[in-house]
Structures are given as structure tokens and as C-alpha cells.
């Protein structure tokens, strides 16, 4: 069984300077309640691993607006002027990572791999300073795995073993981020008993999940 905790208790677990892998895509499928609790806890110097920096008032944008992020590995900043301003002012260190590469690097960590070989970024600034390997005549960039201290993810439904079901495009990076946290905390809209979920629909098995938080956002259907 996985322990159910409050969003506040989840935030209290996270020390300053932690590396956070946070699920969501432009704040859809983002663990908003846990993010709100971290903003309230004012935890500083966080490192963030996310697909996008979301909107100023939604998703991880709230952590950026509160100046709690000191560095990030992210693929898209276009919707958030605050993070671009912080980057230009030298207040935040950004590693821009192609989205597919970011996903595979995070997945690699969760899967016990040291990294991945990808053609994405060849001939661009992305390859600078990295090893290029040739396999069967084709070039690939060696991209190291990305691990986190805490993975914070959002699910539609969770059972008490931490098995997760996602809804529509809110799945996005969540099952991947969940694999790569030393501790993974899921915020779920519905928390159900073991046996209530159709095993065929579980997109993230509970083995990756440590704690469950009840979301205040609840969608039916």
C-alpha cells in the first residue's frame, strides 16, 4: 500500500536544492496542488526537469514566478516570458533539451540506463561538447540519463497501490517522470481501492509510486 499524504506534507518532504521531475505539458496534467504547496513552503534553489515552463500562473510557471527555480532542463520556454527574462538576467541556468531527447533521458534513468543515442540535434548546438558515436554507419549523440530526487506527477485515478490511470492528453510526460524519481509523489483526482482499476488500463504501475496526494481538481467521465 502507498501512503496517502496531503499536498502540504509532500512539499515538506522536499528540501531546498532538490531536483524535481514534474509531469505535464503546458500545465495540462500538471500536479497543481503539490506545486501550490511548494510555492507556499517557499522552498528555494530547486532544479526542475519539465517539458515546458508553462504559463506564468499555471503549472511550474508558479514556481518560476516565485523565483524558486535556480536551474532547469526544459525543451520549451515560449509561453512564459518570466523564465526568459530570468534566463537573460542570469538568474536561472537553463539547459534546453529537444523534447524527445528529454523524455528518453528521463526514461533512461528510470530504466537503469546510462543514457541514449539519438540523431536529434546532430549538426546543431545541441551536439556541442557531447560524444558522437557511430553505429552501423549512422551518427548519434550520446545523451546522458536525467535523474531526479522527486518526481511529481498527476494522474486521473490512482489505486492505493499507486497504480495510475491517466486521462486523454493529460498523460503526456507523467508516466515517464514517475519512473525517474528517487521518490515519486502522485497527485490523483480520484483515489480508489485496490482492484477497482481495470489492470489493462493502468499506464503506470504502482511500483514507480511512493506517495499519493488527493487533488482538489476532479474530472468525471
Amino acid at each position: 500500500m502507498r501512503k496517502q499524504i496531503s499536498a502540504k506534507e509532500a512539499a515538506a518532504m522536499i528540501p531546498a536544492g532538490s531536483r524535481l521531475a514534474i509531469g505535464g505539458f503546458l500545465a495540462v496534467g500538471a500536479p497543481e496542488c503539490i506545486i501550490d504547496a511548494i510555492v507556499e513552503a517557499k522552498t528555494p534553489d530547486l532544479h526542475m526537469i519539465v517539458i515546458a515552463s508553462d504559463w506564468e500562473d499555471k503549472g511550474v510557471g508558479k514556481l518560476i514566478a516565485a523565483k524558486q527555480i535556480k536551474s532547469a532542463q526544459v525543451s520549451h520556454l515560449g509561453t512564459n516570458r518570466t523564465i526568459q527574462a530570468q534566463m537573460n538576467a542570469g538568474e536561472i541556468d537553463i539547459e534546453l533539451v529537444p523534447q524527445g531527447t528529454l523524455m528518453e533521458r528521463v526514461r533512461a534513468c528510470g530504466a537503469g540506463l546510462g543514457g541514449i543515442l539519438t540523431p536529434t540535434g546532430l549538426g546543431t548546438v545541441v551536439e556541442e561538447g557531447k560524444q558522437i558515436l557511430t553505429v552501423e554507419g549512422k551518427d548519434y549523440i550520446l545523451e546522458p540519463a536525467i535523474c531526479s530526487d522527486f518526481a511529481l506527477v498527476k494522474a486521473w485515478m490512482a489505486d492505493r497501490m499507486g497504480n495510475l490511470v491517466f486521462r486523454k492528453t493529460a498523460r503526456n510526460s507523467n508516466p515517464i517522470m514517475a519512473m525517474a524519481g528517487k521518490i515519486t509523489i502522485v497527485e490523483a483526482e480520484h483515489i480508489v481501492e485496490v482492484g477497482d482499476l481495470d489492470p489493462e488500463l493502468i499506464a503506470c504501475p504502482g511500483v514507480f509510486v511512493n506517495y499519493i496526494v488527493q487533488s482538489t481538481e476532479v474530472t468525471n467521465g
Binding site: 503546458l26 517539458i51 520549451h76 534566463m87 534546453l96 524527445g100 546532430l122 486523454k168 492528453t169 510526460s173
Partner: protein, 220 residues
Amino acid sequence: MDKREMIGKRIAQEFKDGDYVNLGIGLPTLAVNYIPEGIRVIFQSENGMLCVGPSPDEGCEDKDMINAGGGFISELKGASFFDSALSFAIIRGGHIDATVLGALQVDAQGNLANWMIPGKMVPGMGGAMDLVTGARKVIVAMEHVDKRGNPKILKECNLPLTAKAKVSLIITDMAVIEVTPEGLVLKEIAAGITVAEVVAATEAELIVPEHPHMIGSFGQ
């Protein structure tokens, strides 16, 4: 017809029945309005969906249903949802027939620059580098010149690249240009535009077929 709509209509003619296609945000998405009758194109959204449908009516939006640009979408019959790693496996693994993206610059070697202007604008590459690397056909759709009237089709890109030598076709409001090993070949010109005008608006050298009848036209 509006310039952008004309480009959208011309993009749509590139798709075959059953193609899996990823459209970049902005101008490329206009193509969905012009898919010829009898042709079914399956659109991917790289956050994790196939069979993307049109934007829903106001009041019918679902908070868990967005495309890669953050706009609300619907699902068509046959739709599937999956995680972002699988979505990019589809893209990088060569399972997408065509992707259409905008460009800041594109050059005679098929190089594309569309993700940053150093010191000015750094939105990040998002999924663009993977799309351009993995899609079977990369189509650039854009206005032929920038807001100041400067050419965007160059001898060589000087902005940071999105990918090297991956573009195969360029569709603009003035022309359709194919990227070949020999260089850029002028295939079609827009109605009301002359070859000389296209050549003047293009910094890269254009290979212009000798016989005018070998140049098609579009946008009538």
C-alpha cells in the same frame, strides 16, 4: 484568397490518403481546412495523441485535451492517447509521413533554423528538432520574405540550426521550391507572381526550369 490560407491550401495537396502527419503550430495548421475530399489524413499531436480532431465549440472544451500549441482539440474515431516518450518514438522512429513547420530561415542545403534568435528570442526547440530529424518528409511553410521584406530562403542559414539537410520542400506565398542535391528547384509559382519576382525575393540560387510550362502554378 488570403496569403496564409493560400499556403495552407497548397500544403494540404502534399498529403496522401492514410498519411500520418504532424503540423507545427501557426501557419501549418491552416492545412487542416483544405484536405481534399476522399483523403483521410491522421494528425498527431506530439504531447501524446493520434487522430486529432478540430477545436471544439465554445463551452465544450475539455481541460485534458490540448494540442502541442496549447489549443483545445477534439478526438476523432480511432484516436489513441500515449505518453510523450512513445509520441517521440513515433516521430524519431520514422513513422510520421510528413511534418510541416514554419521557419526563420531555410537554405540551399535544406538546413532549417526555426528555434532561436540569439540575444532576442529563445523559446526553445520543443519538439521541432525531433520532428525534423525523424519525419519522412519535412515541409517548410512560411511567408517568402520576413516582415522587413528580407529573404528567408538563403544560401546558408546564419541562425542556430534546428537540423541539418532535412528539408525537402518549401511552400511560400510566392512559390513551391524543392530541395534537391543539385540545389533549390523552382517547381511552382503563385498566381500573379512572376519568376523574376521569386528570384529577386530569394537569396539562394534557384534552379529555374528552361521551359515555363514546366513551372506549375497554385493559388488561383
